[in-house]
Amino acid sequence: MRRVVITGIGIVSPIGIGAQTFWDNLLAKKVGIRRIQSFDPSGFSSQIAGEVPPFKISEYVPKSYRKATKVMARDIELAVVAADGAFRDAGLQSRAYTDAPTIPATRFGCNIGAGLINVDLAELTAALHAARDGNKIDLQRWGREGMGQLTPLWLLKYLPNMLACHVTIIHELKGPSNTITCADASSHLAIGEAFRTIQRGDAELAICGGAETKALPMSVVRQILLKRVTETHNDSPAEALRPFDADADGTVVAEGGGLLILEEYEHAKARGAKIYAELAGFGASQDSYKVTEPDPTGRSYGNAIAKALADAGAAATDVDLLVPHGLGIPTHDRAELAGLRRVFGEGLSKVMFAPIKAQTGALAAGCGVDAAAAVLSLHAGRVPAAINSRKPLDGIALNLSPEVREANIDLAVSSVYSLGGQNAALVFRKLES
């Protein structure tokens, strides 16, 4: 079986752009959640989000590609920025950086998970206004006069596969490409699928993970209607997202993207690449419970982790670090703990937990950031703090610390689940020297 290693990390997150900045700020316990800046949120009961610090997309694409940034929705921009970081970190000379690329284009895959991309409300409404009949649209006028006001490429801004398309064009990647759209599980499923692609020999390298923004009015209203977000921390955003904490009352929307470069081990060695860790196992499963909440028994969630461990040839007792999904929604965190107990049993209290969403917010399809955090922790031998997990939920003691810890980490797991019941887990292993 071909082995797969991680040789590059690209991150765009509320606590910084670039893997190093993200990691430094994560360890510094910085929180990227604050009052929403990109629009006036005062009409919403939840007014906070994890927003990415300002950036100029034109600085992350080749000069020749600047025009195309006009048709990038925010989600696409996040993926493009994360991809640039991943390529630079991996030291790979793609078409974005040279006229003589040294990467094997047809053997380079791209699996970028995405969410349901929201349209730019102001752009659309300016056109809708031309066809309004009171508070409704007169479709006949829309057909005649309204739609023509939209840019011809309007639809292409919002297709979920455009994250991968722009990245494949910018970096000239012609291998297997896929776009997983399974909400919060998208990134991990995409990484798992890319892993299989390399294992079976259909590619030597792949860029994979996901990106999404939910820091938009349309996403916020949906999350409020779904009762997923905290409405009590508008004045205390740094304490808002409280994974596995008895005082938690909801999660916090955010935006971001996390992409990994996966590379076949011999290929990475041959080019003298920096290797962060081995991707040793992947598992996926589905709840069959409800579309609106996770199975409270955690049965399938646990199965995904168990499958990933078996895939890695590891036992539950081998796991040193877990980056859980940890949304800070009490019913969800309970279901997650139930699933984890099925895997780890009493040993659950020994596994070091790094519930990083307290600092980043819930990154949805951008949870590749969580996977990257597991890789960076393992590589650095440092465990990020659990800044807001103080009172154990239901009295269940977990191995959490309000401070950053040093530890030898041989095996790390990152696991997620989606609203809708898709579960995915990845197992990372320290490469033996």
Partner: protein, 428 residues
């Protein structure tokens, strides 16, 4: 590596709600295209489409329950899956449901058009051309419904199928535009080959026949505007082709490892022989004009199937009826098949059924299996004006009997996503 076979099929299409009725229509060269009725499209550049007609979820599944909250895409998916499941003879009570997975290429659910547009209009400040997000929030929270919002998420068809079937194995949705459900079935095959599941439900569902869907495609000038002659509006490979006709629907197949299918005595409909997937890496708006990505996708599928072009008896083309696609696809087929290209029949059912977008590939793969079963090739209708760019045997205007043991289906998505899949007659 496990061999993977197809043991059940189901679809909901603009030409019928059962495999046999729609297949009969396809072989008879009928059309599912008519004036759009789902909304008032009278003044849109395109006012025709291929709608699924007279659909009632209750006609297809025993307990409708909260499935009725699902979007049009989800309801089509549930009905198609139910057909495929029954067709396969699978019995949930006898299955290890942790070994039953789902891989769909489904699109997003239907937008709540009235609530969404009302929120936007009521919050619009014409004086400044800005949206008052405070007002927007107030109206949106008043008008929008939690279920209708959630059901727009593209993973919802998948999640509903898990509830319908009890499947708890690996589950994913890929949304790679018009290539999505071919990709889903190809990737589901890989999961089974590796032994990560015993059974996979594969396919896709989509409906973009709504004001913004048609708006988007009309702005791209991708749609046919032959509104006066719906049945002849979709003209793949014809010199007078002018774009595709938007359709909707779902296609689902039950895939199993050969061992699992054999052990339970299942009737095997066909074997999945090969799959290839590539990216053009060219432009978001155009296909690679030399068809390079499509060429490699077909070559990869052939390599994966350990076949040569001489083994392929029929190609179900992507064949959208756009000027660009049909020329490029022809070029790509010629490049891969060489001398064999002109002797290998190629057809596009989109001439009759329209383009089901994310669901297109699954429906077209099912046609390949039926072509193998019946040794019949569905025609490319409306092909009357030869285009020097398109010089293959497109099975014009009339279905044709032909020995078909192996068929290849192409699907190409906006942004340069190329997928090819090969199915063959099952020989034990």
């Amino acid at each position: 590596m496990h061999r993977v076979v197809i043991t059940g099929m189901g679809w909901i299409t603009p030409m019928g709600h059962s495999i046999e009725s729609a297949w009969k229509g396809l072989l008879a060269g009928e059309s599912g295209i008519a004036r759009t009725s789902l909304f008032d499209a009278a003044t849109f550049p395109t006012s025709i489409s291929a709608e699924v007609k007279n659909f009632r979820l209750a006609d297809h599944i025993a307990e409708v329950g909260s499935h009725i909250d699902g979007g049009r895409n989800t309801q089509f998916a549930l009905a198609a899956c139910s057909q495929a499941w029954k067709h396969s003879g699978l019995d949930a009570a006898k299955l290890d449901l942790d070994q039953v997975g789902i891989y769909l290429g489904s699109g997003e659910g239907s937008l709540d058009f009235d609530a969404f547009t009302a929120a936007n209009l009521r919050a619009w400040q014409p004086a400044t051309n800005t949206l008052d997000t405070v007002k927007w929030a107030e109206v949106a929270l008043e008008l929008m419904n939690v279920t209708r919002e959630l059901e727009q998420e593209p993973n919802m068809p998948l999640s509903h199928l898990a509830l319908l079937t009890g499947a708890r194995g690996p589950a994913m949705n890929c949304l790679t535009a018009c290539a999505a459900s071919t990709q889903a079935i190809g990737e589901a095959t890989q999961i089974l080959r590796r032994g990560d599941a015993q059974v996979m439900i594969g396919g896709g569902a989509h409906s973009m026949i709504h004001p913004f869907g048609v708006t988007g495609f009309n702005r791209l000038t991708a749609l046919s505007i032959a509104n006066d002659d719906p049945a002849r509006a979709s003209r793949p490979f014809d010199a007078q082709r002018g774009g595709f006709v938007l359709g909707e629907g779902a296609g689902m197949v039950i895939l199993e490892t050969l061992d699992h299918a054999t052990a339970r005595g299942a009737k095997i409909l066909a074997e999945v022989a090969g799959y290839g997937s590539t990216a053009d890496a060219f432009r978001i708006t155009d296909q690679d004009p030399q068809g390079r990505g499509a060429i490699v996708a077909m070559q990869e599928a052939l390599r994966d199937a350990r076949m040569t072009p001489a083994d392929i008896d029929y190609i179900n083309a992507h064949g959208t009826g756009t000027r660009e696609n049909d020329g490029n696809e022809t070029l790509a087929i010629r490049s891969v098949f060489g001398d064999r290209a002109k002797r290998c029949p190629v057809s596009s059912i989109k001439s009759m059924m329209g383009h089901l977008i994310a669901a297109a590939g699954a429906v077209e793969l099912i046609c390949c299996v039926l072509a193998i079963r019946d040794n019949m090739l569905p025609p490319t209708m409306n092909l009357h004006h030869p285009d020097p760019e398109c010089d293959l045997d497109y099975v014009p205007n009339q279905a044709r009997p032909a020995r078909v043991d192996v068929a290849l289906s192409n699907s190409f998505g906006f942004g340069g996503q190329n997928d090819s899949i090969i199915v063959k007659r099952f020989v034990g």
